[in-house]
Symmetry: C2
Subunit: 124 residues, 2 copies
């Protein structure tokens, strides 16, 4: 069952919509992932970020394994309804590499982002 | 010919990668669009944001019609190489609706974003 919102979401042929997670305190773009209608519903219901893992092909509660959850303060939708923005308070780091943000590299390969945890401690 | 960078980009089956445009001054997430390898190349070469328009099926130089160009200060890539972040100085507004950001609505439908131009003046 699909929840009803004020804005209609435009999911793609696979039933997914891209979601940007942004730190609401300082504006850092933390990650880009995908959500199904169910993932959006769970996010709204629980107040914690849910996505859909395309590699594992399952609903993904961010931080269920690592503890690095995202408290979702606000869900925004773009003009066409085909992209979503979660404004979050991030516990720990968003990236499985241990960086605070998944966008820790320039296209040139320079590493600029901060590493906030050791992935071996979290995903061992 | 695909340009070589320090980071290898993972394009999807359609040759696209999602790109987040973020205002580098205040961190506002302005829009989400898609780029081909050529669009990324043109962005790097010119210093102005290029995307691929899926609706028009063509390379899209942001602001070519509206004048609302994006000077790209930095191109970042995420951990998996399958998402890109343009950090930009935005002229005018990013959204064709006249809003500064395409994410001007909450999921509830509440409008919260600032409108910075009248689209009738720009896209008439």
């Amino acid at each position: 069952m699909e929840a009803e919102y004020g804005v209609t979401l435009a999911f793609d042929d696979d039933g997914l919509v891209p979601v940007i997670a942004q730190d609401r305190a300082d504006g850092t773009v933390l990650m880009l992932a995908y959500a199904t209608a169910t993932a959006i519903e769970r996010t709204v219901e629980t107040g914690y970020a849910h996505y859909y893992s395309r590699s594992r092909d399952e609903l993904w509660e961010k931080g269920a394994t690592s503890g690095h959850r995202q408290r979702v303060i606000e869900v925004r939708v773009d003009c066409d309804g085909d992209a979503v923005l979660y404004r979050v308070d991030q516990t720990g780091g968003a990236c499985h590499t241990g960086h605070r943000s998944c966008f820790y590299r320039r296209l040139s390969g320079d590493e600029i982002g901060e590493r906030v945890f050791d992935p071996d401690d979290v995903y061992a």
